[in-house]
């Protein structure tokens, strides 16, 4: 009797929450060509069809659809929960990142040795979350093309998250050191599924829905992970581009002021002021 070949299941899930803007989604998916992963697109009740964009660029991707617009935290959570991979890449639909960059991130997550930094907790050992260097997309109105959009997130002494090296040139030496950071952007972050599960086991939401449509949930996720002993690492060798804002669940908009107030109150015991260590 011939032995049945065991179907190879990739150990990486790529979760892409999306709201309208199918052209960006198509570009994002096309960039993932060659990546060995389960791609899960979660449509947050777009009022433009995104099906064709998915089918043409990633025919094997799964599409989940929210019945009504729920916002980023809920949508992303649904996508993560729908997967089973050991690693999860949470990816905005307006980010373009290559298979090579994804492999680099995965390697650091699995095997990376990064010297500890002042922001690491004394008990931190294992790298739990990584993120790449993102530069502004050529069409982005938010920043000069090719300059840094994301190189890790630090918190100032008011516990306001800010993007490190925002707007700096991409090859600036300071922005190209692999290092621990307190947080990274949910626009493109890869994490071990165990991090997610451990946070849930603790009774917390990894991407808290208290933030409504979104903002600050990615920072809180990182802080919760750090509190459990995981390290969050910025991987500058892995690069991608980000348009910024195109993937937002725009229904209702963002409540930046209100969310910051919530974030401060929730995270003040977990967050540390690290602005002066980082730039």
């Amino acid at each position: 009797m011939a032995r049945r070949k065991r179907k190879h299941t990739p150990d990486l899930d790529i979760v892409i929450p999306v709201y309208n803007q199918p052209e960006f989604l198509h570009q994002c998916l096309a960039g993932l060509d060659g990546v060995e992963a389960n791609i899960i697109v979660v449509d947050d009740a777009s009022n433009i069809s995104i099906v064709d964009a998915v089918k043409s660029a990633a025919p094997n991707a799964r599409i989940l659809r929210n019945m009504r617009n729920m916002g980023f935290p809920t949508t992303a959570t649904r996508g993560v929960e729908a997967g089973h991979g050991k690693y999860v890449l949470l990816l905005n639909s307006d980010v373009v990142i290559s298979a090579e960059a994804i492999e680099k991130m995965k390697w650091v997550l699995a095997f990376g040795r990064v010297p500890p930094s002042a922001v690491d907790m004394p008990t931190s050992v294992e790298i739990g979350i990584v993120a790449p260097k993102l530069t502004f997309d050529s069409m982005s109105p938010h920043g000069k093309t090719g300059t840094i959009q994301h190189a890790g997130i630090a918190l100032n002494h008011r516990l306001q998250p800010f993007h490190l090296f925002l707007g700096w040139r991409a090859d600036h030496p300071k922005a190209n050191e692999m290092r621990s950071v307190q947080a990274v952007s949910g626009a493109c972050m890869m994490f071990k599924r165990n991090v997610w599960r451990n946070i849930e086991r603790d009774g917390m939401e990894p991407l808290p829905t208290v933030y409504g449509r979104g903002t600050y949930e990615d920072v809180e996720f990182c802080l919760l992970a750090r509190n459990m002993g995981y390290r969050v690492v910025y991987v500058p060798d892995a690069t991608g581009t980000h348009y910024v804002g195109a993937s937002a669940s725009l229904v209702g908009g963002y409540d930046l002021v209100g969310n910051y107030s919530i974030f401060q109150a929730r995270m003040r015991k977990l967050a540390i002021w690290d602005g002066w260590y980082q730039v």
Partner: protein
Amino acid sequence: MKNDFVLVVTEFAKIGSGYTSIARMLIDVLHKVLPETDIVVLGLSYRNEEHDAPARVVAVQSFHDLPVMLHNIFLSGANVRALIVALDIPLQGKIVEWLQTEKSEMAKKTRYIGIFPLEATPVDLRAVFAIENMNATFVMTEFAKQELSLHGIASNVIPLAIDTEFWRVPTASEKQKARAKYMIDDSEFVVLVVADNQERKNLSAAVIGFSQFIYGGRELERDERGYATSGVKVVENVALHIVTRVNSPYGWDFADLLLRYGVMEHVVLHERGLPADELRDLYFAADVLLSTSKAEGLGIPILEAISCGLPVIGTKCTAIEEHLTAAGGLMIPPTVTLIDPFGNGKRAIVMPDTVAAGLKMAYNDINVAHTSRQYVLEKSSPTAIETFGQQLLEAINGKAQA
């Protein structure tokens, strides 16, 4: 990551702040004399812009955040070798006061080195209190050093923080190009003012003086609002370019001032915060820099102008007098000198008629306001910077100033 550093508190705005060039010089010098020591800068006005300074710069959103930031740093377990504060004396006074309430051992043992300008005499008692609580003092002019010595306070003078390679004499074609950029024709006489729209800069004397220069001091006919309606001009082809905070809520209403004195069509207002290249083009395009300040602690625009080979007309007072006595230029004697009732020290006030006379002299013969670049070159020379580095190192290591 080294946990041993020198902490600097200063302005670190990309453009528009005189302290930024001082900060950069300070950082470079520290890096040279203490290559193994980290430099951390708490930068007021810094907005996380790209920089290539050999230091870690942290944005300070507001001066009122400083106590918390300093408190956190002192409690963090880091070894702060020295705290160097390059800010105006009133702000330094506040920092000194805060530090006196700091209970941490690190705060108590960290040496405080102050770098500040002294814009006028007499030295305010609050300033003396602040200075006496510093471990070492650096000032920006010989005038300041002399003044402090009268109070028994020893200090050193820092070099001029002027990038003389950037602020340089334009070539003929650069000057022509700059003038063409602002559509200034060859025969036009251009007066440049670079000053904030605040009381001390006495901008009204500059504008009214310019008006009197144009109209030969004659009375103007005015309408019911007080705006000039007509007057006979004795000079036509002149312009006044002012780089300032145009819409300051506390300063002059320029629209009103220019209409009142009939110079609207001769004046160009440039909002402060110009990129350095743009500002330099104005220096290149101008025929003379005019400073009507009542007092100056350093006077960076004057130094930039001298470095660019631009003639200068300035009030005969404090730092302006020190620079123009050494470098040349035309000094306008103040008509009134008084002690400011708000505790800011002496104010030397030039009147519009003397400003007009100065402008007329320069218009007829620009050589009367000629300046020598050698002054700036000497005061910012590698030797001067090396001396400063040694003095700074001694201050950090606890050697008393002579």
